[in-house]
Amino acid sequence: MDATQSMTAKLSDRQYRANKSRNKTTIIAIILVTVMFTTVFTIGLSLMDTKAQLGAVTTDMSSMFLFISGIILILISGYLIIHNIFQISVTQDIQFYGLLKTLGAKNTQIGSILMRQAARLCLVGIPIGLGIGYGIGALLLPVLLAANSAIAVLSVNPAIFIGAAIFALVTVLISCAKPARMAGKVSPIAALRYIDGEMDDKRKTKRSKRATSISRMAKENLGRNKKRTVTMVASLALGLMLLNSFYVMQNSYDAEAYLKSYCASDIAFSDKSVTVDLLDYSNTNNTVTPELMEQIAAVPGTQTGVAYYTEAQADPGDTAINNIENFYNDEESGPGSWLSSIEAARTSYNKLMQTGRVTAGVYGLDDIAAKTGNVYMGKYDAEKFATGKYAFGLGIADNGADSIFYEIGDKIEIEGKMYEIMGMMELPTSVQGSLETEATALGEKYAIPTAAFLEQFPNTPIMRGFANVEGEENKRAAEQIVLSHMEQDGNLTMQTRDTYASQFREQVAAQVILGYALGVIMALIGVLNFVNTMLTAIIARKREFAMMESVGMTKPQLKQMLVFEGIDYAVITLVISLLLSLFVGLTVIQDSVSMSWVANFQFSLLPLGILAPVLIVLAVFIPLKCFGQTQQRSLVERLRETG
């Protein structure tokens, strides 16, 4: 190693050791940034591994977009704090750099002193951050995947660590490139004269004839270093905005809408083949037995209901046939591709067009089951329906014109018996099940009353049983009955409103947990940035404070001024966070929420509301604490101090 290098190395090393508390702050910042990168990488790669286990290797665009915007957000928030820390440390050491310059250090030599320190801080911070981040990723992964049937695979891909480390390193390098250049460019003469350098105000004069007040002084102080004020406010506001936005997202998910659509009763039970995806319902298993229904009906405060299902040949009538023909020939909406890609659908379609008959799904519903339906055309008249002369067409409520297959009063025929269409309804999943079979590929489904159903299709077993039970105890008792039957028959399965609700909460948590985690870390970074900025500003202004004291400003007045400064920061931060949250909430979040049918966009500022007092308290407490630390020595000593 030649002498120059050893000298910059030595200076860098000594300076590193001389600034223990500053190093701690920087290392914490580097750790937090690395933690965020590692968490995102761990989860991203683990999700890919989990998908690969399911046989799906495609990464969809939206998750790629989320991944990239997450990385960019982390880069920004990392830059905001690390850049700020280095900027401040260069300002603090400006006399040191100026002196080196006077003694003949070149720009690059001074820059490398700073870069070496940055590298050394990374060497400490990044490994710790990688460890913590991987741990957080491992903890979050099961929550993220809770709603999926997939078993979470925690990736051990070295790319996680390499990628996260590279990104963290890049963030640090970008962040200290400018401060390093600034340190190198220091004019020696400016450095020799430099006092407290807390000014980037370009104004030459200040018009004011009013006597100043403490609160106005505080405002002026905020404007002294606008860049620093901006980075500090931005880094806090970013975290707060993220927390608020994900809360809005979580808040917008509507459990009631979900339950209404998935679970129409307190308890529902059926053969497993009805609920498990991709399995066809086998109605030869006599899973839901009449005994089971009787036992449950015997529980006090209980109303039970049943649904039957079978497939049957039907004539859907001319209106429906015309609608089906138009629907599948509509090139623009593209359902034609369904016909060309699914053979069963094509066969059914051709058969319908040639013979006017189709294989339909037929549900037998009692009054309780029928009332769970969302009637979107016509009206459910229980008495008329019970006569067995009427049928409901089943469809999906919110598909607009494509939901309407029939007109009220249409005549259809199921296995030789005529029915009149009373209307159309959508059944909740807990009643309808996931019965997409090849035979009913065109999706023709009807609901008729149980009596009529059993008359036409005698000996069909019950597909599903439901029970609405009043009182917690009775509910437990009813559940217990189903559970005891489940022990005897492995094909029996039960869903309760509670399991659906908790399943929903898990799904929602999966959507927002990563956002919350990043938001919390970014908010922490913001607070760290606030503490660091406030502390260094107060240390840098020690002499100025001593000077103010010497001309008659009392300590309580100085403290009051600092508290005003802190509160001003907090208020600016809150206003910016509010504007950011409004903007992001009403654009990105509303867009993403509106795509989900279980969500009902509900804007909220609750997290900001909760965090506002916390921020104000911190804004008062931190400056006072920092100020206390600088006041240990006498006024004269502090006045004399040069740097």
């Binding site: 120059t4 050791r17 030599q109 460019k185 004019s187 020799l192």
Partner: protein, 239 residues
Amino acid sequence: MSILQAKEVKKHYGEDENLVKALDGVSITIMPGEFVSIVGASGSGKSTLLHMLGGLDNPTSGSVEIGGQDISQLSDDKLTVFRRRQIGFVFQNYNLVPILNVFENIVLPVELDGKKVERDYIDRIISLLGLESKLNSLPSNLSGGQQQRVAIARALATKPSILLADEPTGNLDSHTSMDVLNLLQMTNRQFSQTVVMITHNDEIANLADRKLHMADGRIMQPLEAKYCGRQNMRMGAWA
């Protein structure tokens, strides 16, 4: 042949009604081996002149030549290298690097230049300045006089052709001040070092070969200034 020459150097700050003429057309010529002191009231422009002479700051107009090289023509980095080879600085507040010990402080400019430290030469300076026993001390453990000795040693370490001292005794008591001044005189003789020193202490200024008075950003003519030269004064210097 002069070693240091300033021609019509002006330094103005601010504009219009705020215009401050820190230097208002200063021309001086300094010969090799000369010991020149500059005196003047606070605000007379003497520090600004020293900064210009040392290439720490750029003049608004005029030129500064060191050994025939116009330093305003040099780029920032070239000027830095030029400065560390040609000029040593001594400041009123010593400006030692607090994180380096005495020896490291002394050899810092040499190492920054990427040169090998000449132990013989450095040892000579160290013993001349009486710092042998303090080499491992950190600056904060030294007295003001000791710190200034280290600063002088550091200024001499690269064997610069010119030593610029800005109120080197400003923070020292009168006894220590004389010590430091004797050391400057000694190096001036022993290493044929050109020394330019700023002071507001007339007694100290009188020890120089030549004394220049500054007021309002200008050098006063020798005849109008109180003249107090020494016998070995080189009359040709400002001819």
